[in-house]
Amino acid sequence: MQVSRRVFLKYAGAVSGLAALNKTGLLSLEHLSPQEAEAMQTAMGKYEVKYTADAMCPAECGMEMWIKDGKIAKIYGNKAVPMNDGIACAKGASGQQLVYSPYRLKYPMIRVGERGSGKFKRVTWSEAIDHIGQKLTDIKKKYGAESVIMDCGDVTDRDHYYRLFFAYGTPNCTEHGAICDTPRRHGPKLMVGGKRWEPDVMRPQLVRQPDGSLKKDYTYKTKLIVYNGWNPFVATRIFYENRGTVGAMVENGCKVVVIDPSLSNTAAKADMWLSPRAGTDGDLFGAMLRYILENDNQNDPDRKYIDSSFKKYSVGWDDFEAAFKSWWGKKDPVNGLGYFSLDWAADRTGLSKKQIEDLSHLFGITKPAALVWGMQSPGHHYNGYCASIIGVALNVITGNFDVPGGVIDTELVKSDKGGSATGKDFKKKKVKRVIDGKEVEGEVEHFHMDLFGSKYPAAWDDAVADYPNAFKEGVDIRYGPFRGHHYPIKAYILRTGNSVLTGSAPHKWKDAILAKDAKGDYKLELYVFIDTLNLESALYADVILPEASYAERQSLSDIYPSHQVIYNRDAVIKPLHECKKPTDIMNMLAKKLNELGDADLKGSDFWEKYKSEEDFVNEMLAPAPGRVNVGTPLPYPQYPEGYKLKGTPDSLEKGEVTIDNEKKEVKGKPVTVEWLRNNNGVAIWPMSWYRYRKHNADEPNKAFPNTSTKLIEFRFDWKDGDKRYGGYKSYNEKIEKAGGEVPKGLKEVGFDRFPSTFFWFETKWNPYTNPDYKKYEKDFPFQLICGRVHHSMSGTQMIPWLSEIKTEGTWQPMNKEFEADVPEAMPMGEEPMKTMKMKFKANTYSVGTIWMNTDDAKKAGIKNGDLVVVENPLGKSTKGKVFASGGIRPGVIKIGFATGGRFSEGLGPAYKTRDYTPSHNDLVDPDVLSPIMGFPGYADMIVKVKKA
């Protein structure tokens, strides 16, 4: 030993002996008994197979993970789950790179610098929970519980947090749906009480046979699929659609039409690619509907478009048709043509008359067919509502709704997992406020900032993009019992979301989070970030809580199948580092609030009730499948038609049930986590079609769909005798009770109430369809659209494996040179993958790009790979490299969603490329929030492009 050490050692003893040690003197290791050591020795190196779901992706495919020595060793698709039928895509298979990423959040942290400076210190869980608890207690006392927003970002596992904050007393709990695609879902929700319309291509389906047995059916029936702005080969939440589309094409000769300004992967494989101007989806749908109405001839087999039996199962068609036709005679100020004519649509969409006519005829005559519209078309435009309403009408009148091979409202038929665990009952709690000197009583839910606020009272999926305004100006309640109540937003709890980057324009979010009052304090007093990943939004938080990754926490799949399927997303490994499960975070915070004197949070509702996450999931499962016994073939012919089904598939099959004729309910043995674990993780109930009609008679069953009349509704608000019906009824009643006060959103489009049937208004920032923007056409010659790159979404760009795959024009190998670790498949040997260090030469690793047409680029003197600046009329800009190709409509530019400008180091390789990759969100107009539900117009923008 060196002399210097000796000298040092005489002091080291004095220093090191001081730390508090436990009995054995060990801080993080423990001594095992011989038995424990032997058991561990035996277990090491053995595989244990666990069934779970891939929640690092919204598709949430069924997975089986092979666990060895407590770590995920192998990942396969779960063959028992029909969503993916045993398949794992590249993203599903790369889960280990997320779970074991050295860059994930590991410990609770508290901010020590200014917001956004990224300076944090590690604290214990109890310090973090104490900090949050104190703040929430103060805020509730000072401003009321409604001043707190719980934004669950990701839909998955939101329920624990909803429960906690509903009980705390705020109804302002939201999730990703609010900034996903609400205008796209609007038509289905309004007209059938559903949400997502998808083609009937999920295979296998479990179908009741004439002999009473159940069979897995793999046959495809669809003859035509029209995907409008929907790209299942790349960006899918509905994983069966990519293999199902190919299956229907190959096995059933199904034709596929893709409508998209860009040549998406789906378009590249389609029979027909139509490339219209951006934001003209409703125009095209309107023209299709007019063509079908004008050219239908029930006596000509080549013109028999309409299946008039829909009238038996719907209400209000005549009014809808009359309102639609009333536009035909009006002249469009843009082109002087009558609305929805072929000439009109050709002028606006940029497609030829013949293309529109051929498409309309093809859709009218081909049966069964499915017309499907995606999030990147109607979903992201200001007037997407109109398109989705016409889309529903087109499918219904042509006889394609819920027929074999047609289109299915997957929201209406998926299994119920919304047991009382979600805490929605807390919203019914009575509360009082003093408004204008008068004490007023209402319920917690009447504080909802959107549903009773001054702007978007029909925002049933919330208006997250409007939060920055609420942070700065507070909330004005204008409807319901608390009319006249104003409250500030004082706390924002963000969990597994990245709203600072993607919740409309990032500058608006940063500005609102950093805003200070006259005293120099942040207006938003508390901002908590909860996640596994270190995303941009973490940089602005006051407190960071590390949540268990998807493989370390348990819940249920959030999926859109064509019939009731539900699977357990099991925790396959223990939470790594100091991460905690949502159930534990919920209980810890509830207990702390209770200790601080908040009697609304009780042990019997939280920590005494849910001892483990399994308790919570079992309660969520209690109503499953929760759908009615309807359709053909009848799922359970032994039970009464129209009765609600509850219980495991095997108990319902075996007749181990009680039948409650009063409640019209058939109840088998409850579905539990244990049952799922014993059945490959998944429960599957039988498929049926024509679920809106009786199985043995041509008349409505009045149990499906989920509307006020249990019929498909073409009217949205009407009276029949004393009774009032329709999807907009309750919102118009709010307006009436408030003396006719018109909400901000409706005022913008000149409405004074929610329309009672078909309506139309134009989108924003579109010089080709809205005369207000004509003046920008010359200086800003490009329409900007965005599209999701499935495997490189906001939260998965730190996974190097996924950048090895290029995707369309928005995710291309256009990197600068760098070194990286690359896994290679090893067909031989024990490990299926082996990682090697490789130097990536320039242009070999995929990054976000700016996709433009070759001719446009040539005209502007821009070459492939040139760094350019894209600027909008609001003076905002972003920078990136151009990918020029013929596969995009001239005059359109496309950028991937959240594929560039990633400024959190937690994004790993994506962070390194931030200086030359574009952020589409930087160009979004934060004030364009669509009028009915306050949804950001992500794809409503025009830009110019110049060399950087």
């Binding site: 220093v15 993080s28 020795q41 090491m44 050295p102 223990k574 790594l576």
Partner: protein
């Protein structure tokens, strides 16, 4: 040799504590009592740590806060920590955590009858845990030796040498280089020098 081991116990005890958490006030106060006039004899890393403590002794609480922040920045994040404290990050081809290298460390602990308390949550190969393992082994070797169980003591000494030479010295220098290169805080510069010199 046993006397040397007894003395080394102290240094491993100090190192495990400083890598597992930000420094406690007690440790810093004790360091401040050490005279700085030890000429060129002391370990340069240790000297740097002591002089950092002395430089800040009039503003101890504020400095402790700064050390806690620096600890978080260096080893935790939330931004990419410049010095990831897990061996698998340096030794595995994938630079990920919980790799085969982690399992190898787990096996080494198990062979000595030990396991991480938060098994499967904290990767076994955290620098602080590894230093604690050496600390534990050293303690046992001395105990067994003094009880006259020479053979067992020698066997454990071999385990310890294997662990230090066959595992820790493979990555701790890489790790401490990262610390040295990414901090301006003398206390952590000193700690990085001390830890790597001690394994040589």
């Amino acid at each position: 040799m046993i006397e040397e081991l007894k003395e080394e116990l102290h240094i491993y005890n100090l190192l495990r504590q400083l890598f597992l958490k930000e420094p406690s006030k007690e440790i810093i106060l004790a360091l401040s009592e050490i005279p700085s006039d030890e000429g060129g004899e002391n370990d340069p890393g240790f000297k740097l740590m002591v002089s950092a403590v002395k430089k800040n002794k009039d503003r101890l609480d504020a400095w402790l806060e700064e050390l806690a922040i620096e600890y978080a920045r260096l080893f935790i994040g939330p931004q990419n920590p410049p010095a990831v404290p897990y061996s698998s990050f340096y030794l595995s081809e994938s630079h990920s955590l919980m790799s085969d290298e982690t399992i190898d460390v787990r096996r080494r602990y198990l062979e000595a009858g030990m396991a991480v308390k938060e098994l499967y949550s904290i990767p076994d190969d955290h620098a602080g845990i590894e230093f604690e393992f050496v600390y534990y082994l050293t303690q046992r070797i001395v105990e067994l030796f003094e009880k006259g169980e020479r053979e067992a003591s020698t066997r454990l000494y071999e385990t310890r040498s294997d662990f230090i030479e066959g595992h820790m010295s493979e990555w701790i220098p890489l790790f401490t280089n990262k610390i040295y290169g990414s901090t301006t805080e003398d206390f952590y510069k000193g700690l990085s020098m001390l830890s790597s010199s001690f394994l040589q």
